[in-house]
């Protein structure tokens, strides 16, 4: 357990260590028994409902504590829908809906996917690349409401798709959705969910911003990335001290030291940015410029760190790290997968760049220092 780690993160660390040690999974890849045990433990400890208030039956952890738990999950290459369940629970609770037990998914995940809530209360549209979609029992769908009833908060980020309806959170039974299975490059489910003609179990009375779920989703991926980078730094440092070549541990070679120092820098950047974004999401409104800048920045920077860091870790490990029975790929493949989920670096960079272009040359610095 790290210094200063909260109780929530410490619990998450322990659950993953007890149920889903990445080394053990890598050595026995066909055995999936750990999955059920892990999820049961995440539910029993309240981690799965961390962001649902106590009065709504959840664990009532703070935003910051939830992100710390996700970093701990990242340190164990989490192959479970913890982040998605947290974000879905948060969105459902904030919309005033009851949060069902079990695994949850969020839709849409991609910025281009649109889901409509028709005036007759029926959904239309679909969401691609939903993490762990097939495993989810329920889905928190962020849908644009047709007609006057759904009018709510304006949403400046809605790339001009027209219409005046606000966004609502709809609770949907996953079994009612069409399902096309896919997988991430780490082999985790990444599925298409079809909502055409699906009637939600409930629709939140409060309008929400279209962005809020994606902001939390993107920050959740950054937290996972930050944790995984910390883990592969530790793995790489340990390995470099054990592995002997040319009659000394490879850690003694300056070329290796310099690369590991770079990896440490990338891990530090991802962790610092993830901390900062978590702080912003806890202390500012999701529609504020501060949250946009913090979340976009961390998704870009953590995504870049994921790429650079993964390659350094593989380089330091040599051939053994490229074998299926070694644990490293459980981390590096997820680093590459997570950087694509809830918007990749380019998508968030474009949004950030357009935001700062509007602020202009003389507005950039005041904006950056004002958040």
């Amino acid at each position: 357990m790290e210094d200063g780690m909260s109780l929530v993160a410490g619990t998450c660390e322990r659950v993953f260590r007890d149920c889903a040690l990445p080394q053990a999974i890598a050595l026995d890849p066909e055995n999936g028994e750990w999955r059920g045990a892990l999820w049961s433990a995440l539910e029993e400890t309240g981690l799965a409902t961390a962001w649902v208030p106590e009065e709504a039956g959840g664990a009532g952890a703070s935003v910051r504590e939830g992100f710390e738990a996700l970093r701990a999950a990242g340190r164990h290459a989490a192959a479970a829908p913890l982040a998605d369940t947290l974000v879905a629970g948060l969105m459902l609770a904030r919309a005033g809906l009851d949060v069902p037990a079990g695994k949850l998914a969020v839709a849409p995940v991609r910025s281009g996917d649109r889901i409509r809530l028709r005036a007759d209360g029926i959904l239309s549209g679909r969401a691609g690349r939903v993490p762990f979609g097939r495993e989810a029992e329920h889905v928190a769908v962020i849908a644009r409401a047709d007609g006057g009833d759904g009018r709510g908060r304006g949403d400046g980020s809605d790339g001009g798709s027209g219409g005046g309806g606000g966004y609502r959170v709809a609770l949907v039974e996953r079994a009612r959705c069409g399902l096309v299975e896919g997988s991430s490059l780490a082999g985790d489910p990444l599925d298409r969910l079809d909502f055409e003609g699906v009637a939600p179990l409930a629709v939140g009375g409060r309008p929400v911003s279209r962005d809020e779920a994606r902001l939390f989703g993107a920050a959740s991926r950054a937290a996972l990335i930050a944790g995984a980078l910390q883990a592969i730094l530790d793995l790489s440092v340990d390995y470099s001290r054990e592995r002997v070549a040319f009659e000394r541990p490879i850690a003694k070679f300056q070329a290796v030291q310099q690369e590991l120092a770079r990896l440490a820098g990338e891990a530090a950047a991802a962790n610092a940015a993830a901390n900062s974004a978590a702080w912003a999401l806890e202390n500012h409104d999701a529609e504020s410029d501060a949250v946009l800048v913090e979340v976009a920045s961390v998704k870009v920077r953590a995504g870049e760190a994921a790429h650079a860091g993964a390659l350094i870790a593989h380089q330091v490990h040599g051939a053994i790290g490229y074998s299926r029975e070694h644990v490293l790929h459980r981390y590096t493949h997820r680093l590459w997968a997570w950087r694509d989920e809830y918007g990749d670096e380019s998508e968030w960079a474009l949004r950030l760049g357009e935001h700062f272009a509007r602020l202009g040359a003389d507005g950039m610095w005041p904006a950056l220092t004002g958040i």
Binding site: A264, W279, H355, A357
Partner: protein, 382 residues
């Protein structure tokens, strides 16, 4: 195993935001009065009168005790003053080194009467410092320094040559690193001592300019020929300078000057792109902003850890490594993003300047390779 690398999440306190507004207003007044040109690509000139006015505001040595002329304000407030002066390209050269580096060394290692004499003058912007470390055969390897200080009665006599000494031609004082004993077999770092060297009043010291590749005069050669220093000008332990470096390095390495040196290339790019840039340009700018924002958060984090009494030496090295590589790459990345837009003369001038100064950014104050060595040591690799 190694200590964990830790960047505490730190936000600037409200008093820092108020101070930022004061600094911006002060700078607007200075620019209006013609004290400096905020669009001069070279920027950061030597301007004694400007430094005196900054001193009069209490913004030099602002974290130091009041009895030495300081304000006892926080590192986070100093951080804000520093970054606003940098952004404005204010002429801080006359006080920058004394404020950042030399003052803290004196505060820690100088005898009380010297602290009472020199520190208040730094705070008033009246004296300029330079750092006498590098020599012809000693750069990254500081412990190879050969310039000798030998005991002579109550004092010391210095002979030898310092090289690449930035700002020595303007400086009133040098903090010099001299050899007082040979290294030992057990410790090759043994035998060096830090001294306070009054450059104006000590005979036997001469300074010669060394023009840099960009055509500027910042570097100097400083020659010591029988220069006599009083005994009380020793800073810290004789032969033990190697023990004294740690926390100063954290101040020196983690500030915003380690990533803002070429920031005006990005600002002028934004000006040329206008409010509706193309996708390629907007995406490129967004990446740069994300990286800049992250650097700044890390740098503030180190300032906050210093304020809390920690010694984040490895973290500071990470900030300087990431930051200087970033500011070094920035001119070329801006150049690429500006490839298909109409470039203003101002952006041309900034890029011309920043491109040729870029090489020094990963050399000065600890090379990239030395920094990564420090990080590697922090990881337990050496």
């Amino acid at each position: 195993m190694a200590q964990a690398i830790q960047f505490d999440p730190i936000r600037l306190p409200p008093e820092a935001d108020r101070l930022r507004e004061e600094v911006r207003e002060f700078l607007r007044g200075e620019i209006a009065a013609g004290a400096f040109d905020p669009h001069d690509p070279a920027g950061d000139a030597f301007n004694r009168e400007f430094s005196r006015r900054v001193g009069a505001r209490g913004w030099i040595g602002m974290t130091w005790p009041k009895r030495y002329g300081g304000q006892e304000r926080s590192y986070l407030e100093r951080y804000v003053v520093n970054e606003e002066l940098l952004l404005a390209r204010a002429p801080t050269r006359a006080h920058f080194t004394g404020d950042r580096q030399s003052g803290p060394v004196l505060l820690r290692y100088a005898p009380e009467h010297i602290r009472l004499d020199v520190l208040p003058r730094i705070c008033r912007g009246e004296v300029t410092f330079c750092i006498g470390m590098s020599e012809p055969d000693s750069g990254s390897d500081l412990f190879a320094a050969k310039t000798r200080a030998e005991r002579d009665g109550d004092g010391w006599v210095v002979n030898g040559r310092k090289l690449w000494t930035s700002g020595a031609h303007h400086a009133d004082y040098m903090i010099g690193l001299f050899r007082t004993s040979p290294p030992t077999n057990a410790n090759r770092r043994h035998g060096l001592t830090q001294f306070l060297v009054p450059l104006r009043t000590t005979s036997g010291i001469s300074t010669r300019p060394v023009v840099n590749a960009a055509g500027g005069h910042d570097f100097n050669e400083v020659l010591f020929e029988g220069a006599r220093l009083p005994g009380d000008h020793v800073l810290g332990e004789v032969d033990g300078a190697w023990k004294q470096a740690t926390s100063e390095l954290a101040y020196e390495r983690s500030g915003s000057e380690r990533f803002l040196e070429t920031i005006h290339a990005l600002i002028e790019l934004l000006r040329d792109l206008g409010p509706e840039p193309g996708v390629r340009e907007a995406e490129g700018v967004g990446r740069l902003i994300a990286q800049l924002h992250t650097m700044r958060r890390m740098s503030i984090s180190v300032a906050g850890m210093l304020a809390a009494g920690k010694e984040p030496v490895v973290e500071a090295s990470i900030v300087k490594d990431l930051g200087t590589n970033w500011e070094q790459a920035l001119p070329d990345r801006v150049r690429r993003l500006a490839a298909f837009v109409e470039r203003s003369e101002r952006l041309d001038a900034v890029l011309a300047h920043d491109t040729v100064i870029a090489p020094k950014l990963t050399i000065q104050g600890g090379t990239r390779e030395i920094l990564r060595g420090i990080i590697a040591r922090g990881l337990g690799l050496r």
